[in-house]
Symmetry: C2
Subunit: 342 residues, 2 copies
DNA sequence: ACCCGACTCTAGAACGTTCTAGTCGGATGT
DNA sequence: ACATCCGACTAGAACGTTCTAGAGTCGGGT
């Protein structure tokens, strides 16, 4: 039905309102230089004809797109949380977001290429897996902000949580509850894993527990946590700090299945068991049913930082540091409790 | 650093290669009409100058965008699952996806407007909350595919799961396990809720349990499920079918908290308790720790159906039905088990 | 009466591509 | 030897905006 007719253009509106295209353009984008009466008439006509500006043409001409490209991964619940914050932050400074998703069958390179063709003015990458060299090459063409990971490359901006500090918070919390045998379930080479590991190690040393440091290889998935749990069972610790929430739930599950109670799972008044602290405060970790003690990343601060950084680069008003580091926060929920003496 | 220099355009490539812009264009889009030697030379130059085509200009001229606009909600885990399938389906037929998210502070109208400005050729809306009249108005301008809900409007295409059938599957399963006192936790006016309610009612009647039909108002969030559970406790059923997974976990939680065991939560060999069946097979429901019996929507079929429908409308090769209904599948996990006689 | 500035409006170029309608040689067919 | 055709290539318009430069008009100050 609508296939035949062309969509209404600015020229149509101008003709119908009896003004020039240029004036119609002025009215539509709310610029100065149009009489009140004319303005009203043009707007009325535009409304009536269902005029919708063509952003492609607009941006083609004006050079600017005011568009920030965002690459996120559909598998990571935290990424969608972050998107919410990003929309807010971008809207506040008059920028739009264009999204490109990484999926199990669509890699980061493909996602990025899609955005480049859209001529966004900067790229914001969530936990990018690309090699530093590739990111650097990209950054030579447009501002690039990497989130949730460090990039040792001057041209690439970084906005991340202080993950070392995050792990320290987790360990401090557990030590305060009386735990000493604390294991770290690692994230290997994943973005942020090195920092989280180091935070654990530093905190253990600081508490005089250097001799009890124990790092178990893991990953980002639930099954990684479950597998790691099996390796833990022969000689169980009293507490575990985990690379992320998903892995933590996998761990929890196996622990409970083998009769190792976890605080919160034992009913009110229960004490002891193996405490587990996750990382990310993913939306599912908040589910009352999981109720995971975890290290929260400050979504709003991360989003605001990324947008501020990208916009500064675009508009050349650079003053701040290349790396923006956000303070994490410990969210104490049900999976951490006092240690029982062994 | 890159702020000063213009980005390289087709004209730059053409000049450097010593050919006309038109010929460069031919080469870049792989069209016929260029000599082999020239073709190679132009490609080499393009590579060297780091030429990246400007999709806006390209599409502005050619009219076509081969772009499908997708509106999804960041709060709905199932939506991101569906995105994965959609990228695959669109890629297979040579279309691109452009995403626009609904967030707690960014409504559907805003998300849709963003896509319209991008001049996508069709809109695919995940569980749209817009009124039928608004959808119809939209459909007058471009093909619109509504997913996961019915729309009584000829101009709007629909791709959805047979939700009535889905609820029936859930009830059938429970009845087979010996349950009779089965409650439905409702989704009110949310997309799909009416069908799921009706499926429950139909199945109950079919099993001669019309007298035991009991529908409790609920919603889509975890807290909706928790609230509903409180209303259920005074006179507990032996099983509940729930509008969606999130609400189901909220319900589960309160039930367990009040000492009502749920199958799977009572350890191996346990029998009886209140069975709970969710809806969606959201990624978190698969977590071993939640392990929810649920009705799965066929992501691939839904995605493929939506793309096929949208493309058919765009290209005018319409033959199929306006409404594509996909068969659901019951996923039996841990939260459903045999009924104990009351 | 004249000029000036402010205001409203317009013509036309520009953005980077694709598309249409060609031109130009050279091979082919008779 | 001449028309014909084909492949390689090009000039310039077109897409729907925004931007630049300037044209009218009006009122007020000298």
């Amino acid at each position: 039905m609508q296939s035949g007719e062309r969509r209404t253009t600015l020229a149509d509106v101008a003709a119908e309102a009896g003004v020039s295209v240029a004036l119609a353009s002025i009215v539509m984008r709310g610029a100065a230089g149009a009489g009140a009466a004319t303005r009203e008439r043009v707007l009325e006509v535009a409304q009536r004809l269902g005029y919708q500006p063509d952003s492609r043409a607009r941006l083609l001409r004006s050079g600017r797109t005011r568009l920030l490209g965002v690459v996120f991964d559909v598998r990571h619940p935290f990424h969608t949380d972050l998107l919410t914050g990003l929309y807010d932050a971008a809207g506040a400074v008059g920028y739009e977001l264009t999204l490109s998703a990484v999926t199990p069958r669509r890699d980061e390179r493909t996602a990025i290429d899609g955005l480049l063709q859209d001529r966004c003015e900067a790229l914001i990458l969530f936990s990018p897996r690309s090699r530093t060299a590739d990111l650097a090459a990209l950054a030579a063409r447009l501002p690039v902000v990497a989130m949730m990971r460090t990039v040792r490359q001057r041209a690439v901006d970084v906005v991340r949580t202080d993950d070392t500090r995050g792990s320290e918070l987790a360990v401090d919390h557990l030590v305060e509850l009386g735990h000493r045998h604390i294991v770290h379930l690692d994230g290997g080479t994943l973005p942020g894993a090195a920092e989280r590991r180091r935070g654990y190690q530093d905190a253990m040393k600081r508490h005089g527990l250097a001799g009890l440091i124990r790092v178990i290889p893991g990953g980002s998935g639930e099954d990684d946590g479950a597998r790691a749990a099996e390796r833990l069972l022969p000689e169980p610790p009293t507490a575990v700090t985990v690379f992320n929430d998903l892995s933590a739930t996998g761990l929890l599950d196996v622990l409970r299945g083998h009769g190792h109670p976890v605080p919160g799972g034992g009913g009110p008044g229960f004490h002891g068991g193996i405490s587990v602290v996750g990382y990310d405060d993913s939306s599912f970790s908040r589910l009352a049913h999981i109720n995971l003690t975890t290290v929260a990343q400050d979504v709003e601060a991360l989003a605001a930082g990324a947008v501020r950084r990208a916009v500064a680069r675009i508009e050349g008003t650079d003053v701040e540091h290349r790396e923006v580091v956000i303070e994490p926060r410990l969210i104490v929920r049900g999976t951490s409790g006092p240690a029982v003496p062994r």
